[in-house]
Symmetry: C2
Subunit: 326 residues, 2 copies
Amino acid sequence: MRRLPTVSDVAEAAGVSRQTVSNVLNTPEIVRAETTERVRAAIERLGYRPHASARRLRTRRSSTIGVRLDPGADGMSGSLLDRFLHALVERADADGLRVLLYTAVDEDAEIATFERLLDGADVDALVLTSTHYGDRRIPWLVEHDVRFVTFGRPWGEHDTTDRSHRWVDVDGRVGVRAATASLLEQGHRRIAFLGWPEGSGTGDDRRAGWREAMLAAGVPDADMTALDLGVEEDPLDLGIGGRAVAAVAPRPDAVVCASDSLALGARLALGPDVPVVGYDDTPVARALGFPSVAQPLDEVAAAVLELLASDEGDHHRLLAPRLVRR
Amino acid sequence: MRRLPTVSDVAEAAGVSRQTVSNVLNTPEIVRAETTERVRAAIERLGYRPHASARRLRTRRSSTIGVRLDPGADGMSGSLLDRFLHALVERADADGLRVLLYTAVDEDAEIATFERLLDGADVDALVLTSTHYGDRRIPWLVEHDVRFVTFGRPWGEHDTTDRSHRWVDVDGRVGVRAATASLLEQGHRRIAFLGWPEGSGTGDDRRAGWREAMLAAGVPDADMTALDLGVEEDPLDLGIGGRAVAAVAPRPDAVVCASDSLALGARLALGPDVPVVGYDDTPVARALGFPSVAQPLDEVAAAVLELLASDEGDHHRLLAPRLVRR
DNA sequence: TTGTATGCGTTATCAA
DNA sequence: TTGATAACGCATACAA
């Protein structure tokens, strides 16, 4: 591979000093237009590109953000991370940012990875997904003054006031409410909710959306308890949701689900005649043709980068999902 | 964030020179055990970590490999890339390598990205997926003397002799042959192959596996033509494979498919009574419970890194897939 | 076996 | 507005 031109080469070719070349690149406003022109021409002619490592060493910034590639993803929801990542990489590239992947088996290992990544100036910001209640990563990052944004609310008391933790999330409650409303509009009344056991922020949020829509339609609270299903999902046993929903008597008119894999279970158990709505709009939903609540991953990625970049403005973004009708 | 300790700090703390610290890290065999011990203790005590950017600047290597995050992935096959990526990141981490993502809309854009990534010493090797016949990226990389490995054969004449192009691939022919054989063992004879139109390396390879198994079982060549289905897959029309297979009269006993999404189409069109085997063992196959040919992505990732690292030995690896029976 | 001197390519500081 | 000088942290050639 040929030797790459450096600032010195450009400086020599343009008849200026190295520093001036650097200024043209980094602070063009303080350089005279004519000089800028000459330097730019030289850059073009020589095919000069700044050496990323040298710049990083000097500036102590890497312009790289780290993202964890989730190990536990079951593939179905995994494709969600995949799509988010894609959107993120695309947006980041436009801002001159790179995306570095890492993995970790558990939280302690992940924190150890943070240290490695940050100390070596490999990354200077992190994007975290799949946050959960009591996440130990968050306080660690705050304490070590690391710039980060999570895709997912902390689900704590001070969600929207805590300025030390920036997050972007999608309003699942609104999404599930819309899904439920659309089933109600179609004339269904006994609409079951198939989600996870109470206690998970995300799951309870989605459940709340279903309840709201049902209440608004005048369904009494007492009628809802029998239709409120919470199961522990298991990638190896996709039938669990189906069995739960099949056990409801009388049979529900329709089912709103907290995930596409739950929806798949319901669909397989009840057949195509009972309308089912999923969540995340995965390939499975498209393949089987049931509606699903889609997260606006492009917007999420854009918001994540905005929060990462700016010091002022809001620190939290709650985005609206979209119901994909089929 | 605190100021990070450097080699100098460690040297001072251990009462040696910077060079000795560097030697302990990079060429431990030339340092006296006692000195090593003292230096290691100082490293531990100070929490020293080498600064990645500085090392990269000096060594002119980034220890980072670039991987493209595919834009066109339809989600179902996309999860394949996802799983491969995960395996790759995990293995790479063990070797002290980082994985950087990039995207590109087409080949020209991707080549432009190569230049940016390589010139800036952002990455010093690339892993390419979804290679195809006449791939312009390959000659560009070879010409520019860039280290790379592709996951996927070039499907050219000189596949196995061309030492300038290292690749790892999975033997689809063997996989589909095994899938077909298992159906034959179950007593099925009219086994259709649902794949893509002739002309794609991967597709034709898988088709050949089906033909081999059928021939070995004594099915005459003439009987096979009516069972040999090739359709253009379309993420928006998953029914296309199903329609093709439903149009075969008399109805096939079973169907071997070149992908899980084709298998899904066949399954939906023919119902659960006609055995179907897919390819890639995606969540869809697990969800619907049909067998599928699984690519050993862990092994692929390991092989990719081996080929990337070593200058001698083989330059190509053809790995055996595994039939997941269900 | 250990230490000294130098440079990788860039940008920050300060003087001209 | 531009230029000289130093420094970022590390690793290598060479000397001791």
